[in-house]
């Protein structure tokens, strides 16, 4: 579903991704883990066509990322990106109108799980609620690919719980999900496979349960070992 071949992205002075070659099969839930600055966000933005590779290629469903691939790809950014003057309800109506894969039933379920406040302005919401809204907009779609950029980082515990619950409840099992995070605890049970990024390069890419069987350790523990060298 997702393929990167020698994908490199260089910003002025910084090599965010170095020669990344990987393949993610359709329907897998991938944990993209690494500390801040390891290239996770860059990778997801490249998949959305929001960044262009410096060299190498990346494809999603065998196509170059662009407006066409956005039809079936749902993206949850880490930062606040919604129009703050919109009321939540208007924002949902406007945003959902662009997607044929908007699932009303899912949206209803997620709205209650995430506690979406319909009549406030987006700008008036707290950080945690803005994060919930961003996740809502993505998960309410029957997208083929979900790209979640640090959906739990810097979020209050109550919102974290709701977000985790929302993700679990919206999974059918056939979606391709990339969940990028530097906090692995609690969410690692959702990973089919894990990609460890270290300074822009793929350090490890394995099936999660295989890793557990082989090392007798959880992903969180392996994470600490890998990044504390």
């Amino acid at each position: 579903m997702i393929e990167a071949i020698e994908l490199t992205k260089i910003y002025p002075g910084v090599e965010a991704l170095s020669d990344v070659t990987l393949e993610i099969k359709k329907g897998s839930f991938v944990g993209l883990v690494g500390p801040n600055g390891s290239g996770k966000s860059t990778f997801l933005k490249l998949l959305m066509g929001m960044l262009r590779p410096t060299s190498g290629t990346v494809t999603i469903d065998y196509r170059k990322p662009g407006w066409k691939t956005r039809k079936f790809t749902a993206y949850v950014p880490e930062i606040d990106t919604l129009y703050s003057w919109m009321r939540v309800e208007e924002c949902i109506g406007w945003y959902s109108s662009y997607f044929n894969d908007w699932n009303k039933k899912k949206a209803e379920m997620l709205q209650s799980v995430l506690g979406i406040k319909r009549f406030r302005k987006v700008g008036e919401l707290s950080r945690g609620f803005r994060a919930r809204l961003r996740l809502f907009l993505a998960l309410s779609r029957d997208a083929k690919v979900f790209l979640l950029d640090e959906p739990l980082s810097g979020i209050d515990p109550a919102s974290r719980e709701r977000i985790e619950e929302a993700i679990v409840k919206s999974l059918e099992g056939n979606e391709t999900v990339i969940f990028s995070t530097h906090i692995v605890k609690e969410v690692e049970k959702l990973f089919d496979s894990v990609i460890f990024l270290k300074e822009g390069a793929v350090f490890l890419h394995r099936d999660a349960d295989e890793l557990r069987a082989e090392y007798g350790k959880g992903i969180e523990e392996i994470f600490r070992e890998v990044y504390n060298e």
Binding site: E165, K169, K189, F191, D192, D209, R212, A213, E221
Partner: protein, 114 residues
Amino acid sequence: MYNFRMDRPIYIQIMELVKRRIVRGEYAGSLPTVRELALELEVNPNTVARAYRELEREGIIRARVGSGSFVNEEKVEELKKELVKEAFEEFLLSLKELGLEKEKIKEILEGLYD
């Protein structure tokens, strides 16, 4: 909400859970669907699917196209033996770890029997 250990493959823990429930008779009808169980355990449906596949390989469950999965009744007796044996072996292992002599353990057990 079920607490899984992260240092062992989750799909294996799910298999063990399902086996225990089968032995307890909780799945006398049909097994929950992959999605249902995933929702209950709060895990990825793919992991449940893997557990079910392995259980099928072991012959403990059988999948019928369109109607979900069912317990293979013939295997239940064998399963009961297997789980009791496992529990017993764990018990024995924990006793042996005490480092006591077999006779001493027998003496204590007889005393505890009442």
